[in-house]
């Protein structure tokens, strides 16, 4: 890896890693279809 863009690569890899962790956590806490489409859901 070129020294010039090492920090760019590290920053980009970190962004992907944070996004992946966020995705795993958010999917783990995602509502079931029943909860999602219940009348009490604020998304409707």
């Amino acid at each position: 890896m070129s020294e010039s863009w090492k920090s760019f690569c590290y920053g980009t890899i970190a962004a992907i890693a944070i996004a992946a962790i966020a995705g795993v956590i958010m999917n783990g806490t995602a509502k079931t279809a029943g909860e999602k489409y219940a009348t009490s859901s604020t998304r409707l």
Binding site: S7, F8, G11, T12, I18, A22, M26, T39
Partner: protein
């Protein structure tokens, strides 16, 4: 037919008529068609008077306008059958927001193109020295690229939501566009956390060097020397232009983060009702109570306005940090900038860091 038979037939018809009439009375209660009469005489009021003095048309007009009733189920929002604010929200989102956002992005590219045509690339007037000075250390460069790379993904996926159906869909087809947009939506939702981490890190690292100072006004008064060759107003580590970018990213990015988290329902704070309450206490005529759906609609509009504004600002930042200025990109690639570049653009900062100069002057 004899007269006698005719009389018997008439009698049978009469009896049948009486039986049918009796049965009808048993069903409807009266031969008098009072319902029709009531409708005819009630000037359009709803039969049975269950809605008071409202006519049927008035009733549905009220529902269409968002009037709330009462319900006994736990979810009280069910008392509002039609949330008409959605019409205004959709019209604003697909109308003026899309148009102004698109034109703004086009305008910044035109402005930068015209600026480049007249001013050209801003060169190091005294030439490259061969000596360098560290502008940003590894952690600072990491913070910059963490924020920058995540912002680019957020901007592109956000633009796709707004303009993809007009630009991408005709090129790739409906199915590919649908898949791309679905993946983009997930990317937008998840990469947002990397962006939040980036702006927090940048704030911690750079806030002390971005406090507005009196010399910033002097820098702004002469346009930072951007419009005249050979003239460079003095500046510390960050000049006024860079400070404006910094605060735009921190405040705009912070606002994007909060509205984004609210849209993801990760935080459940009535941001707009709270803000409107403050405005209401100052005398503004704004509603101080909003439904969760209204909060979401306002968050989408705000998220769009701030996002588009930041895209315009960041396009300008990318220009001046790359093709617009010689030597600037080194600050966030290697972190080492040429000493003459630093002296021209950040003379006061170089004076404070004389001992950190590396290399020998070029012959």
């Amino acid at each position: 037919m004899s007269f006698l038979k005719l009389g018997k037939l008439a009698g049978m018809v009469a009896v049948l008529g009486i039986v049918l009439a009796a049965g009808f009375v048993g069903v409807v209660g009266s031969l008098d068609l009072s319902v029709s009469k009531a409708q005819a005489q009630s000037a359009g009021n709803v039969p049975g008077n269950f809605s008071g003095n409202l006519s049927d048309a008035d009733l549905w007009r009220g529902i269409r306008g968002g009037v709330r009733g009462t319900v006994s189920i736990p979810d009280k929002r069910a008392a509002q059958l039609v949330q008409s604010d959605g019409d205004l929200w959709r019209a604003a989102k697909n109308g003026i927001l899309s148009q102004v956002g698109g034109w703004s992005l086009l305008a910044i590219f035109i402005v930068l193109g015209v600026f480049y045509a007249f001013r050209g690339k801003i060169m190091v007037d005294s030439g490259l020295s061969g000596q360098t000075i560290e502008r940003f250390n590894g952690l600072e460069r990491f913070a910059h690229w963490l924020t920058a790379s995540s912002f680019i993904v957020l901007a592109l996926t956000g633009l796709n939501i707004f303009y993809g159906r007009y630009v991408i869909k005709p090129l790739l087809g409906a199915e590919t566009f649908a898949w791309l947009t679905s993946m983009g939506k997930f990317a937008h939702n998840y990469i947002g956390f990397a962006f939040i981490a980036g702006i927090i890190l940048m704030f911690v690292l750079w806030v002390r060097d971005n406090v507005p100072l009196l010399e910033d006004l002097k820098w702004l008064a002469v346009g930072g020397g951007l419009f005249s060759k050979g003239f460079h107003p003095p500046a510390k580590r960050f000049n006024a232009g860079q400070k404006l970018i910094f605060w735009a990213v921190i405040i705009g990015g912070g606002s994007l983060s909060i509205s984004g988290l609210a849209l993801l329902t990760i935080i459940d704070i009535p941001l707009w009702a709270g803000s409107f309450s403050i405005l209401s206490s100052l005398g503004f005529d704004v509603p101080s109570t909003l439904s969760p759906l209204q909060e979401n609609q306002l968050n989408v509009i705000w998220h769009t306005i701030v996002g588009m504004t930041m895209m315009v600002v960041i396009v300008g930042h990318i220009y001046i940090g790359s093709v617009g200025m010689e030597g600037a990109i080194a600050a966030v690639s290697t972190g080492q900038v040429d000493l003459n570049w630093a002296k021209e653009h950040h003379s006061l900062w170089v004076e404070e860091h004389q001992g950190e100069i590396k290399g020998q002057p070029a012959e």
